[in-house]
Amino acid sequence: MRKLLLLISAILVGLVFIARLFYLQVYSGSTYDLFEDSAILKEYTYPKRGYVYDRNGKLLVANQPSYDVMVIPREVKPLDSTDLHEFCKLLNITPEAYQRKLTRATNYSPRLPSPFVPQLSKSDYAVLQEKMRKYEGFYIQKRSLRSYQTTIGANVLGDIGEVNRSIIRKQPYYKLGDLIGKQGVEKTYETTLRGVKGIKFIQKDRFNKNIGPYKNGVFDTLPKPGKDITITIDSQLQAYGELLMKNKRGGIVAIEPGSGEILAMVSGPSYNPNLLVGRNRSKNFTKLYRDSIAKPLFDRGLQAMYPPGSPFKTLNALIALQENVVSTADRFTCNMGYRYGNRIMGCHAHKSPVNMNIGIYESCNAYFANVYRRIIDKYDSPAKGMDIWSNHIKSFGLGDFLGNDLSVGQPGKVPSAETYNRGYGKNKWYTTFTISNAIGQGEVLATPIQLANMAAAIGNRGYYYTPHIIKHIEEDTIPAAYTTPKYTTIEKKHFDPVVQGMFDVYNKGTAKMLQVKGIEICGKTGTAENFAIIDSVKTQLTDHSIFVAFAPKDNPKIAIAVFVENGYFGSRFAGRMASLMIEQYIRGEITRPDMENFVLRYSLEHEYEKPYSNAPFGINRQTTLEPIDEDEFQESLRIKAEITKS
């Protein structure tokens, strides 16, 4: 026994030590990760973010340097009060804020870098850089922020902001403090614009001093610069559209029908993109975000869904021809509306009977009700007819996301037999139940970009290109989906009478007052009824003003949809704005100053205040036009002059 004491002790110690080593090195030691090794400093170099140009090569978005103070909490050495005060003074924060920020960073992760004080001013940076070594655990990270060369197109260009934790979890490329595209092209073309950051691994010693590259830099990578992109926007047209939309709410989308390129994409009210750059970004963003009345971050050109109204009638005419249920010469009578059962769908006073051409330019409800019934009733059951109709409509890009490269969007809605089966029960509904589809009311919903695309498809006589914002990527090609035409279900030959009808809208119809000499415009006015809940009562507001057009009539260069909230009838605001946009784009100048003055002079702000006024108010016919101050008007004219000059 005496001989065994030391032997047993030695064996026991050996076993305990090996067990301890196993615990430390294998069991609790996670797999070695260079990124988590505090002995290795990770130095990131952020590449230049790609520039953004407009279709004419005008620089819209460039970069400016920015410096963030970063912290790695577990490497921070407690500062004595003199050092703490000096450091806080350099950073322009209070000692309490220092503690708070440090605690927050520690809670996120003691070993990963967090931004401590983001976006220093240049002078602060110069002073701080000298003294940084003294404060262990802190370092300065250079990044690049956006520098907007323009004040327009905030909804198109978007912005970049700090990544949040859920993004980091999903995409490990990003580290806390990195910037990422949040809206607009910055978001959709993030990886193209961003490039790839470079990284250097540097061996540190315990005094936090760099003692050379880790493994002679074999793991180091160089930053890959982001690619410049050219977008399809014509910044002059965009600026003009934003000017026209001033004091109004709504959206304008203009597309080049021959390519699907988006020429302008206006959403009113808009804001200056420079608001979302730098230290005030989150403050300004919150302000825009919280504005639940004007909703400046809501892109009305892409996200607002409304019944399309009369412009939709053109599609019913096309389907009727394709389905061979009417000829262009077939005539229907209209006596102030269309009667079915004991109900009536009203119409306005015009000559009767009505053929297709008159039906379109007079926008006759009775004509289209008849045509629509013939389409649906052509088949054994309304369900079958409905599905066939629905397919035709969808082939124009309605009722679904367009598959474009925009950061936001809405699918709109096109009813099918299924929609009514759900509402009424299978085989328990008749064509007349769905009659409002004839005139673009009822179950149909569309966004302005979908209507602009529809106009492009009509202008092209039967096909369209997916609307897109990207024109060119440096050393790259744009996706084939944007350069292959998509055909509608309507044969080319059926378009001419419909196009002629839209042309006659300008010649002798509802847009007669909007003619522009020398440009053959085809268009269609529309209105959309809309309601608000005021004191829990559903209250009707002034109609939205809608206009859809393309020009010239043959080989169109521009297709456009304009939508003005509570702008009343179609030609009042939307029609004027569409005509002006078309002339501005095609001719480069305006020959109808009367029309332009009207749009620039009259504001709809008073209209938007009505629901919040706590007083009874009139709509549509009872509304009046309210001019803006003369000063403001002159300012608008000055901006207009500047836009045309550039």
Binding site: V13, G14, I18, Q25, A39, D205
Partner: protein, 426 residues
């Protein structure tokens, strides 16, 4: 001539190979832990690893010298060697040189010599000499006191020079005494007192008294035969209580703050997070860095010269007391386990050889050698892995330094010489 050859091959080559492996692997790790900048030459004497290579070179001269003496020489001159060692320790008070608060070195030119490293083998020789004397009986109190004096003299001298770590090493001789007949009661008492001390510090005096009383009552009722009187039991209880108070008093007033904090960290006594944080930045700094370095090694380690924490010199004193953390980081679980196995194998081999000695002197000396290696290895490695409170002693053959390397080499090779001679002892 033939006889000469035979003799040379009587050396226990297994032990020698273990020794060579440990010194060689030790050098590899010192190289990793101590190099500054690029390694231009392994013989670059401006760097510590270069110096250590010189120490290793001199070690071989030393081995030849040790083996060339007659085996009988060590037994005969044990007392004189011991006396010289004690004088060298005393001389430190006059001629010694302060390094890091400990007065344990002689300075000779640019070199330093640490006599406490040599006092170990001298004491082992003296203990072996005394116990192997035919007159000595370890069962008697008289001999127990005398043999205790042999180890206490150097131990106290070293303690007075502020080198508490090296003092603890002399506890190793307890294994020797026990092997040579020291009564069981000492072992039981020692283990009980250690347990009692830990209990007192961790849970307080009250709990430790309750525990002692319970243990004594249980024992009293279990032992129906040969039962000691209740009076004796009471005496033991009173001594235990006094001991508990003594431990508490010593911990509160007898220890320096940093020693107190080391124990407090080990027993996890401190609950105040602010103070704990402060301790982690001071007393536990080395330990935390060392544990992190070891943990980051994983299964197979980061590879020779690839340890990021070693390269960055994150572990202070890594080339000396904390050298094992380099093994942990660069060679991983595999490498560290091999080092543990090498040491345990060496200790068991020496024990095995000791038991096979014909002369009691050789056996006792061999036991001393095994015990000293055991204590050094256990305390140093246990500390580096965070199992034992921080005690500054080197890892034999691994830690940087001439005195240490030579001290352990002499210790081991005297035994190898004695062992080689067992055939001639008829």
């Amino acid at each position: 001539m033939l006889r000469q050859n035979q003799r040379r091959f009587k050396f226990d080559w297994f032990t020698i190979i273990l020794f060579l492996l440990l010194v060689g692997f030790g050098y590899v790790n010192i190289l990793s832990a101590s190099h500054i900048g690029e390694i231009t030459s392994y013989f670059d004497t401006s760097q510590l690893y270069g110096k250590h290579l010189i120490f290793i070179g001199l070690t071989f001269l030393l081995i030849i010298l040790i083996l060339s003496f007659e085996a009988k020489f060590y037994e005969r001159f044990a007392s004189i060697i011991y006396l010289i060692a004690i004088l060298a320790l005393i001389g430190l008070f006059v001629f010694g040189k302060d390094v890091n608060g400990a007065r344990s070195w002689y300075g000779i030119g640019s070199m330093t010599i640490q006599p406490s490293e040599f006092a170990k083998f001298a004491t082992a020789l003296a203990v072996a000499k005394y116990i192997s004397d035919l007159q000595t009986n370890m069962q008697t109190l008289k001999d127990q006191i005398r043999v205790a004096a042999i180890i206490f003299i150097p131990a106290i001298l070293i303690l007075l020079q502020n080198d508490a770590g090296s003092t603890i090493v002399y506890l190793a001789f307890f294994f020797v005494f026990y092997r040579e007949g020291l009564q069981q009661i000492y072992l039981v008492s020692a283990l009980s007192l250690i347990a009692l001390a830990v209990l007192t510090l961790k849970f307080g005096i009250l709990i430790s008294v309750v525990a002692t009383t319970t243990a004594l009552i249980t024992r009293y009722f279990l032992r129906k035969k040969k039962r000691a009187s209740i009076f004796q039991y009471l005496l033991v209880l009173i001594v235990s209580i006094l001991f508990s108070y003594g431990v508490k008093l010593f911990y509160d007033h007898g220890l320096k703050t940093h020693q107190q904090n080391r124990i407090s960290l080990w027993l996890r006594l401190e609950k105040d997070p602010v103070k704990l944080e402060l301790m982690k930045k001071r007393e536990a700094y080395n330990l935390i860095q060392s544990e992190q370095a070891i943990s980051s090694g994983g299964w197979t380690g980061k590879g020779f010269l690839e340890g990021t924490r070693t390269t960055g010199k994150f572990v202070p004193e890594q080339h000396t007391d904390y050298i094992f953390s380099t093994v942990g980081e660069e060679w991983g679980f595999l490498g560290s386990s091999i080092v543990v196995i090498l040491f345990i194998t060496l200790i068991i081999r020496i024990l095995y050889l000791s038991e096979s000695q014909k002369s009691q002197f050789s056996r006792v000396y061999g036991y001393g050698v095994a015990s000293i290696f055991f204590i050094h290895f256990t305390i140093n490695t246990g500390m580096v892995m965070g199992l034992i409170p921080t005690v500054g002693i080197p890892l034999p053959f691994f830690s940087y330094g001439g005195s240490g390397l030579w001290g352990f080499t002499i210790l081991l090779f005297i035994f190898i010489k004695l062992d080689s001679n067992k055939i001639n002892e008829w």
